[in-house]
């Protein structure tokens, strides 16, 4: 097997130029690419394309909150950094803190987690619920798109060969209630079997906002604004009457049945119902456990 070229730029500008000239595949933490291309102990992984190691680009590091509450997360931010940052959203922290093993969380980056578009990736699910955007940069400039639009399907994204993910931008959020669950094969260090985030903003007894997204259940994170709209704008008191239609729509329309074995469909339904019931029961603001 031929050895591929490897580039190790020191600056973003340099990296973007290499990316444009060669289309080399970016490698950040390595936790996905090194495994996917592994050839075993003592052997260089069998990469098929030239590799662009971007692990040390300072421009892609750091997490900051802007004045309006927007949070910008550098693409090289690790799961650990996201989990421990004072400004990241609790749903994203949840997903980051339950991702893989501790050591993996110190290597795996948010840019990689989105860029790989693995159905088992943990971070896209809350990011899509939070309407997060991904910032793509090339030597020709910058463009932004919703994470939901960026990830097209398993292992396929809208990134161009000359672009790098530089950051993820999360708009300000207002939720009174949130819910997060990850069901893995074991209690830690586990690939997801199913993840679910739900969030609601209840003001004066009215559902001002309601969102739900589910991961690991199909080729891509599931979210439907149309189904969410079944609840939005209604009084909390109306939820008991509305929830049946909502749950039916979520579990049959949103989730392609073939992609969703019975357990995932039923458990998703039970969790969403539980979340809605908690709202109806006047659960105090905050996290619904």
């Amino acid at each position: 097997m031929e050895e591929v070229k490897c580039y190790m730029p020191q600056t973003l500008a340099e990296a973007l130029q290499i990316r444009k000239d060669t289309g080399a595949q970016p490698l950040a933490g390595g936790s996905d690419l090194m495994v996917a291309n592994s050839r075993g102990a003592g052997i260089v992984p069998g990469f098929k394309k030239p590799i662009l190691i971007i692990s040390n680009l300072p421009e892609l590091k750091g997490i900051r909150q802007l004045e309006d509450g927007t949070v910008e997360i550098g693409a090289l931010s690790t799961s650990w950094e996201i989990h421990t940052s004072p400004v990241t959203h609790p749903l994203l922290k949840d997903a980051a803190s339950r991702m893989g093993a501790i050591a993996l969380r110190n290597s795996a980056t948010i840019g990689g987690n989105i860029g790989n578009a693995s159905p088992k990736g943990d971070m896209p699910q809350p990011l899509i619920l939070l309407d997060a955007e991904v910032v793509l940069q090339s030597v020709d400039g910058e463009r932004r798109m919703k994470v939901d639009d960026f990830i097209i399907k398993t292992k396929v994204t809208a990134i161009r060969d000359d672009e790098l993910i530089t950051k993820v931008v999360i708009p300000p959020q207002k939720f009174t209630h949130i819910f997060f669950r990850k069901i893995g094969m074991r209690r830690s260090n586990a690939i997801s079997k199913l993840t679910l985030s739900a969030a609601a903003n209840i003001q004066d007894g009215v559902v001002v906002d309601f969102r739900a997204s589910s991961g690991a259940a199909g080729p891509k994170v599931e979210r439907s604004r149309e189904v969410e709209s079944l609840l939005i704008g209604h009084k909390v008191a109306e939820l008991p009457d509305l929830k049946g239609a909502f749950l039916d729509a979520w579990c049959s329309d949103v989730i392609a049945p073939h992609a969703m074995p019975e357990y995932r469909r039923n458990a998703t339904r039970r969790m969403l119902e539980y979340f809605i019931d908690s709202l109806v029961a006047g659960h105090p603001e905050g996290r619904v456990e």
Partner: protein
């Protein structure tokens, strides 16, 4: 230095070097001019090999196959039988069967070459499951018998079952199954072959150095003495390195015979997961006759999936059958076992050696019968506890006092079992479950005398004594406990005892490190050798050697499987408490309480570690460890999809050790390494069943399987 006493707390002799990262495992070794080897394996489950197309091999690179076995040698590995071929030729019987090795200096080049080897097969329909095997799917594997049955046995006691069934009020029938389990020792299989002074020398991660020698010598038709096996620090084995190292070393021997340079083979994890031996999947069909609410007889048909070669399967199956009525005395029993051949990777030894399958199935069967009769399962089971003098299913007797009532008392108190079963209504989301179990120590019947004939030797030099036995340390602590036995018997410090990893050219054959026999049998041999040495202590430097002697008066007939199958059992009782999340079916284990009767603990800290680890493996087996074979291919390939428990999955365990000195063990000790695996999976399932008011007839029970079971509530 003060003399070591058996009750002293000692530091394991291997702990510091291992924790410092200084212990040498095979993967850590480098020899001058070392070559590497990778296996070329079958990619189809059953078929003929029509052609092997090799790429051009660069100088110094070799493809080694059956063709390289010299004329006087035979292409067979000798385990129990000689059916396992070192290299498949003409036909393949399972995915992963060794066809050849690629050997050479550069690993990347070797993998390139391996990828370029093209093998033409004519595929045939494989038999994969036990039912496939029973039905001879794809044609019988043994045409001369017109069947796939590799091995079989039965034992019966009391009256004929037709008579018992005719008399019963009802017959409670169930089919229960248990899955594959992967050993998942953290160190993968590995070995290095080299030459020294004209002899073939192997460094191996292995449990049984003498097994390897015996198994592979026939490949070249050379005397055993021309092969030297040196065991390296072994990173976990659990039965997975009992016979399987023969498969690596056999292939390496043929390569070494040709190439004559050091050759190293270390499996990657994906190879180790897919292409190594596993625990036998089982299917147990029990019919239990009930009259006036009491059991009057049980018939069990037990099927084990043996894969394509026998390896140790017949012995595994025997142990399964001998444990198929658990710790209970039932007046009339008929137990039949069949080892079924399939086109899957051969199954072999795994901690418990056939006992965990039948113990899980029978224990769960009795639990379900108790549900059916409306009695608390523990109360029900306690009516049938075996006691000293009871006739066993093999028409032998329970020779020792059975302390289960005392042990049950300890764990029910510690766990508050009797209150909790009242508090937790069936289906309330919380449940507490229990399992009782045992494990026959050492080889079956008189096998220690008839087959193994173990020896142990001690050599005294000044005030130092060295132990020479073939028994191995693989993590279980034997290098420490055997020294402790020796030191305490001699009345000297453990620091004055040496016991190195065995080298077959230097030690005597003390038998395999398997069957929970090391402490009980080899420990006793060393104790005897030490007693003799102590008497002669002032004679200067000398050697003592002893051979195993079987106690008189405990007959066993290996032809009919009648008699005293085991001289002593370890006994166990475990309680598990769980809480199930009714939204997601996730099970949280709240507590684990166990009591084990192992005669006497030679070293409590080591025993404690064995208990914790064995119970954890059993909980993994019952809860999460899913290894599925689809059409001959294992679906799980790595440590991320074949999951074993982490530190977060189960809570700290309560443990209790029940003393009951065993007359033929050192200081009263019996075997315990396997016993501790034999019950927790059944207790876990019992607890989940009670929490959800449902029943399971198979393991493991991850969330999606719980969803299935809940449909039937």
């Amino acid at each position: 230095m003060p003399a070591t006493k058996i009750g002293d707390k000692v530091i394991r002799v291997d702990a510091i070097e291992k924790a410092r990262g200084e212990a040498t495992y095979v993967c850590d070794m480098t020899l001058p001019d070392m070559q590497y080897a990778y296996m070329v394996r079958s990619t189809v489950p059953r078929g003929t090999i029509d052609a092997i197309h090799l790429p051009e091999m660069p100088e110094g690179y070799y493809f080694i196959s059956a063709k390289d076995i010299p004329a006087q040698g035979k292409n067979e590995l000798w385990m129990i039988m000689k059916d396992w071929r070192c290299f498949a030729e003409d036909y393949v019987l399972y995915v992963g069967e060794t066809i050849g090795l690629v050997v050479g200096p550069d690993r990347a080049t070797l993998k390139d070459l391996r990828d370029q080897i093209k093998i033409d097969y004519t595929e045939q329909t494989p038999a994969v499951t036990i039912d496939d095997g029973i039905n001879c799917v794809g044609g019988p594997m043994f045409p001369e018998k017109n069947s796939n049955v590799m091995c079989e046995l039965f034992c019966e006691k009391g009256r004929p079952m037709e008579e018992v069934f005719a008399e019963a009020d009802e017959i409670f029938e169930e089919t229960l199954t248990t899955p594959y389990q992967e050993h998942a020792h953290l160190e993968t299989n590995s070995a290095i072959a080299t030459m020294e002074d004209g002899k073939f020398v192997f460094y191996a991660s292995a449990q049984c150095p003498f097994y390897i020698r015996k198994s592979i010598a026939g490949l070249l038709d050379i005397p055993y003495e021309d092969i030297i096996i040196r065991q390296c620090t072994t990173g976990g084995a659990f039965g997975g390195k009992e016979h399987f190292p023969d498969v690596l070393c056999g292939a390496l021997l043929i390569a070494e015979n040709k190439i004559r340079k050091p050759i190293k083979m270390v499996f990657d994890r994906e190879e180790d997961t897919q292409f190594s031996v596993k625990r036998h999947p089982s299917k147990c069909v029990y019919k239990t006759a009930v009259k006036n609410g009491e059991i009057i007889g049980t018939e069990g048909h037990i099927y084990y999936n043996c894969g394509a070669y026998l390896s140790s399967s017949f012995v595994v199956l025997q142990r399964g059958v001998f444990h198929a009525n658990g710790v209970y005395t039932i007046p009339n029993t008929y137990l039949k076992g069949e080892g079924i051949g399939t086109n899957t990777f051969p199954t072999c030894a795994f901690r418990g050696f056939g006992a965990p399958q039948t113990l899980f199935c029978f224990e769960t069967h009795l639990t379900h019968l108790a549900h059916h009769l409306g009695v608390d399962p523990l109360e029900f089971k306690m009516r049938y506890l075996a006691k000293k003098g009871d006739e066993t299913t093999t028409n032998g007797h329970i020779i020792e006092d059975v302390k289960l009532p005392e042990m049950i008392d300890v764990i029910t108190k510690e766990s508050d079992y009797w209150n909790k079963i009242k508090e937790y209504k069936p289906g309330c989301g919380r449940g507490i479950g229990v399992a009782l179990y045992n494990h026959g120590g050492a080889f079956t019947g008189n096998g220690e005398q008839a087959i193994i004939k173990a020896h142990a030797r001690l050599t005294k030099t000044g005030d130092k004594v060295e132990i020479f036995v073939g028994s191995t340390e693989m993590g279980q602590g034997f290098r420490t406990s055997l020294r402790k036995i020796c030191a305490a018997t001699l009345g000297i410090s453990i620091d004055n005892i040496e016991y190195k990893n065995p080298d077959t050219s230097k030690v005597v054959d003390s038998g395999p490190t398997a069957a929970s026999r090391s402490t009980m049998i080899v420990g006793r041999l060393v104790e005897r050798a030490a007693l003799e040495m102590k008497e002669r202590w002032n004679e200067g430097d000398f050697t003592t050697e002893v051979e195993y002697e079987h106690p008189e008066g405990y007959p066993w007939d290996q032809a009919t499987f009648r008699g005293d199958a085991y001289l002593g059992y370890g006994w166990g009782a475990v309680i598990v408490e769980v809480e199930v999340d009714k939204l997601t079916n996730e099970v949280k284990t709240l507590g684990v309480w166990s009591s084990h009767e192992i005669g006497k603990a030679i070293d409590e800290l080591i025993v404690h570690g064995q208990i914790n680890g064995g119970i954890m493996q059993s909980l993994g087996y019952g809860s999460m460890e899913k290894l599925e074979n689809k059409k001959g291919y294992f679906k799980q390939k790595s440590m991320s999809d074949y999951v074993i428990p982490t530190s977060m999955d189960f809570p700290k365990q309560f443990y209790h050790i029940q003393e009951n000195p065993y007359p033929w063990g050192p200081y009263g000790a019996k075997g315990m390494g396997e016993l501790v695996f034999n019950g927790a999976s059944a207790a876990y399932v019992d607890a989940v069943e009670r929490a959800l008011n449902c029943e399971f007839t198979s393991i493991p029970i991850p969330v999606e399987d719980i969803e299935e079971a809940l449909k039937n509530v």
